[in-house]
Each structure stands twice: as structure tokens, then as C-alpha cells.
């Protein structure tokens, strides 16, 4: 990609500093800490430049027009949601329905959630909990008087839990084929694999109870684990990039090409494969899930590979033989 790709962790630090410094009341020690961070590595400085470029976009609106501009964008945000929703009805679904579905629409309780291949959907549940459904996934939302329950039927969900709107608060649980995960105030993802469940916790903690067996275990932020109906595997470090899909981005941090292509294939209708000869090439970067052609173009320009579309539904990444 054009500019060198920066680590997810560095971008996250830059975003956190931006949030700290934009608040108005910044203390001198905070400012000092920020300067130290900024000087600590060229990557930090590069990330901060990007933060400034983004917030600089707002500076381009003249001061006396800012209020109106802010109101316009806020109003357009909600009216557009309505307009696009209506259009989808008029046109009988298809692409437009997809566009609306991707938006955080307020879903009814007890809704049945499903995404197609290549689709990532965000939903706000009745209690304010945010739920993202990854590609080709299905989940049932079942909120009752005593329990907030999400059942993962296929694929992967990411949850950011909110405080319950009811008092006393009902437990928030995610059920997979292998067991129950109970959220303890948190952001975490659950992937339903073949015969196993993978849980990654990014914030807070989650308690696992496999279907068989009494052993329970609490998994905390930064950890990830696989479990089956019978037991829980070894705890590993969670990869922070694992949640980038909820932003519509596929992250590669020195990742094997075949591994990357396998994940991209989950978002691709039809077949997408990688020639074993180039499987262990490594790549770095953030790739927009919505634009597969752009990803292919980036791969072809950064690696000695070519993309071959044998048919519209059959794509293979092959070694490039430069004649």
C-alpha cells in the first residue's frame, strides 16, 4: 500500500492520545507523557501525523460554518438511514438491502441474525449491546425477562456489552455448540468452529462453562482460548487484529500468504485459493474487505504473485513468472 502500514497497536495508541488531548482539560504530566510517546519511535510520529491529517479535515470547514456543518452531518446521518431503508423496500432488496443491513439498525428483540458471504453486519441490541456478525455467520438473539442470550449458530460474532436496561441486570451469555460464555462487562468474539469454539477476549472477562463437565474458567482481556464440549484448551495471547473485521478491514501483521488468503476466502463468494509454491510469502498491511479488487491489486504490486480469475467464481493466487 502507498504509505508504510503501521501496527494496529501503534494506531490504537495514537487514537487514545488523540482522545486524551481533545478533551480540553489536559494536564501538564499528560502532555509530557504524550511528548515522550511521540519521540519514542518514528512509527509513533508517523501515526500521529495521520491523526492530525484526519482531524485536519474538520479544520477545512470555516469557523463560522462549523455549527451548521455539524448539524447537517448529524441530521444527514439519521435521515439517510431512513432514505436508504425506503429505497431498499422500493427496489425489492438486493444490494440496497445489504447497504442498510450493514448499518447499525435497531433490531427487534428475538431477531434472527444472518450474514451472507462477504457481509459484515453491525447490530445494536435492545439493551445497547453492540453485536457484529462476521461473514457467513448466523446467531439467534433471545432476550427474556431473566437472561440476555446470544446463540452462535455459525461463523463468528463480536460483542461489546452494555449495562442492562433492566434492574436487576440480567446476565449476558453467548451459547455455542460447545458451551456457554458469560460476559463480565466486556468486548469479546466467539467463533463457532467444526467441533470447537474459539473465544477471544479484548476487554473485561468472560466465564466459560463447557456443555459437559463442571470445570469453569474465566478468560480475561488479552487472552484467547479454544474449547470443546468436554474441556478447555491452553490459554494463548489474543491477537488484537482479530477484531479488525468489525471495521471492515482485514489486518496482516507479517502474515503467511496462504493464511491471509484463507481468511479472505471466507468473505469471497466462489472459490479463492493460493498456490502452495507461494504459501509462505509474508505480508503486512490493512486491507479493505469491501474492495476485493483493491486487495488483489495490492498483493500483485507488493508480492511476486498474479491473480488469475479462471471464471468469475474461481480465483487463484499464483506465482508471477516474469518473462
Amino acid at each position: 500500500m502507498k504509505a508504510p502500514a503501521l501496527d494496529y497497536a501503534v494506531l490504537q495508541q495514537a487514537a487514545d492520545w488523540f482522545a486524551t488531548l481533545s478533551g480540553g482539560a489536559v494536564s501538564e504530566p499528560q502532555r509530557q507523557a504524550w511528548r515522550l510517546w511521540l519521540a519514542a519511535s518514528p512509527e509513533h510520529a508517523a501515526a500521529w501525523q495521520r491523526v492530525e491529517a484526519i482531524s485536519g479535515q474538520f479544520e477545512r470547514v470555516p469557523g463560522d460554518r462549523r455549527r451548521a456543518a455539524g448539524q447537517a452531518l448529524s441530521a444527514a446521518g439519521s435521515s439517510r438511514r431512513r432514505a436508504i431503508g425506503m429505497l431498499a423496500l422500493l427496489c425489492g432488496g438486493g444490494l440496497l438491502a445489504l447497504a442498510t443491513a450493514r448499518r447499525g439498525t435497531l433490531q427487534a428483540w428475538a431477531a434472527n441474525q444472518r450474514t451472507a458471504t462477504g457481509e459484515v453486519r453491525e447490530t445494536r441490541l435492545a439493551d445497547g449491546t453492540q453485536l457484529w456478525l462476521n461473514t457467513n455467520s448466523a446467531a439467534d438473539i433471545d432476550y427474556s425477562a431473566s437472561l440476555r442470550r446470544v446463540q452462535v449458530l455459525r461463523g463468528e460474532v463480536l460483542l461489546e456489552s452494555a449495562h442492562d436496561t433492566l434492574v436487576p441486570a440480567r446476565p449476558l451469555v453467548v451459547d455455542s455448540q460447545q458451551g456457554r460464555m458469560r460476559a463480565l462487562g466486556t468486548r469479546f468474539s466467539v467463533r463457532q468452529g467444526e467441533g470447537y469454539t474459539q473465544l477471544s477476549v479484548f476487554d473485561g472477562a468472560v466465564q466459560i462453562s463447557p456443555v459437559q463437565g463442571a470445570a469453569q474458567q474465566v478468560i480475561s482481556a488479552g487472552q484467547q482460548v479454544r474449547f470443546t464440549a468436554a474441556g478447555i484448551g491452553a490459554v494463548q495471547a489474543a491477537e488484537p487484529g482479530r477484531q479488525a473485521w468489525s471495521h471492515g478491514v482485514l489486518l496482516a501483521d507479517n502474515r503467511r500468504l496462504d493464511d491471509f488468503i484463507a481468511e479472505l476466502a471466507e468473505y469471497t463468494p466462489g472459490y479463492l485459493g493460493c498456490d502452495p509454491q507461494i504459501a509462505d510469502l509474508r505480508l503486512v498491511g490493512a486491507y479493505p474487505l469491501a474492495d476485493r479488487e483493491k486487495i488483489f491489486a495490492a498483493l500483485q504490486s507488493s508480492l511476486p504473485v498474479r491473480i488469475r480469475h479462471r471464471t468469475p467464481w474461481w480465483t487463484v493466487v499464483e506465482p508471477r513468472t516474469d518473462a
Partner: protein, 173 residues
């Protein structure tokens, strides 16, 4: 018009695509937009987009599906632009010291607003709102927290989330 290297073939295929499907695309857009004038503009833009994409035209198997996909995204942009422009002019007219913006100023601001809007498109409503209030209206976190009925700490979290989202989008190109 300027054509790239393979001018003759590209031009030929485009002409063919145009003559075979322009009428159909125009009707397709008119049905959705309910306005012949805008439909004609967007049909034109669609073919311009096809040309600039520099794609392998003869290899397109489903030309109408291809054209309608491009036309659809142009149409969504068109609606977005209209919604924002209308909301902006409404908001301006409500200001006490209201004076009408010049066409150039309006164009410049619209361009900026569309870029910001596109950047924040997929953020949850509260996160988006917090970011806009802070960056455009210059509200403090305390005021934003009060308006959104959340804690100040949550507002700060929203701000970091919005910025990280923009950074990732930008990095993804």
C-alpha cells in the same frame, strides 16, 4: 476525450457497451430516481466511471449487472450528497447572522462534508455523534456526555474508537 494506450479497442468496446445498454441503464435509473434529468446525468457518470476503471471491457460477462452495480453506488452517493446539502442549507438558514454561501464556498464545504461523512459512515450513532460534536462544534467531553447520557470516560472511549476507525480506513486505502 483522452484514451490510454489501447485507445482504439477501448474506445470501440466502450462505444459498443454504450450503444447496447445506455438506453436500458437510463430507464433503470429513471425508475429509481423518478427524475429523467438526474437519471441522464448518472447514466453518463456511470459510463465515465467504467472508462476510468480501465477494465477489460470485452471480458465483462454480465454488462447490465456490472453497469447497475456502478450506477447503484453513484446513486447512493447522490442521495447522500442531497441529504447533506439540504441539511446544511437548513442549518445555515436557522443561524441568526445568516448569509447565503457563494456557490464556490458551498462546493468546497460540501466536498469536505462528504469526505467526513464517508469516513464516519460505519461508526455506531453515538460514537459518530460524539466525534462530530467534539470536532465540529467544539463541545467539551462533559457537555457531550450530558447530551448522550453517558459518562465522560465513555465519551473519551468513543473519541478513541472513532479515530482508530478513521486511521484503519485510511490505512486500508
Amino acid at each position: 476525450m483522452d484514451f490510454p494506450v489501447h485507445a482504439s479497442t477501448a474506445e470501440h468496446s466502450l462505444q459498443q457497451l454504450y450503444s447496447e445498454h445506455h438506453g436500458w441503464l437510463n430507464a433503470w435509473l429513471r425508475k429509481r430516481l423518478g427524475c429523467a434529468h438526474n437519471a441522464a446525468d448518472l447514466a453518463q457518470d456511470t459510463f465515465m466511471r467504467v472508462l476510468s476503471k480501465d477494465s477489460d471491457l470485452p471480458a465483462i460477462r454480465e454488462p447490465r449487472a456490472y453497469l447497475s452495480t456502478i450506477a447503484h453506488s453513484l446513486m447512493v452517493n447522490f442521495w447522500r450528497r442531497q441529504a447533506i446539502e439540504r441539511a446544511y442549507l437548513d442549518a445555515l438558514s436557522l443561524q441568526p447572522e445568516h448569509y447565503a454561501p457563494s456557490p464556490e464556498e458551498r462546493e468546497l464545504i460540501m466536498e469536505t462534508l462528504l469526505a467526513i461523512d464517508a469516513m464516519l459512515l460505519r461508526l455506531p450513532p453515538k460514537v459518530r455523534q460524539a466525534f462530530l460534536w467534539s470536532q465540529l462544534d467544539g463541545l467539551t467531553y462533559a457537555v457531550i456526555a450530558e447530551r448522550l447520557l453517558v459518562s465522560e470516560r465513555m465519551v473519551k472511549k468513543y473519541m478513541a474508537q472513532a479515530m482508530l476507525h478513521c486511521l484503519l480506513l485510511e490505512q486500508a486505502g
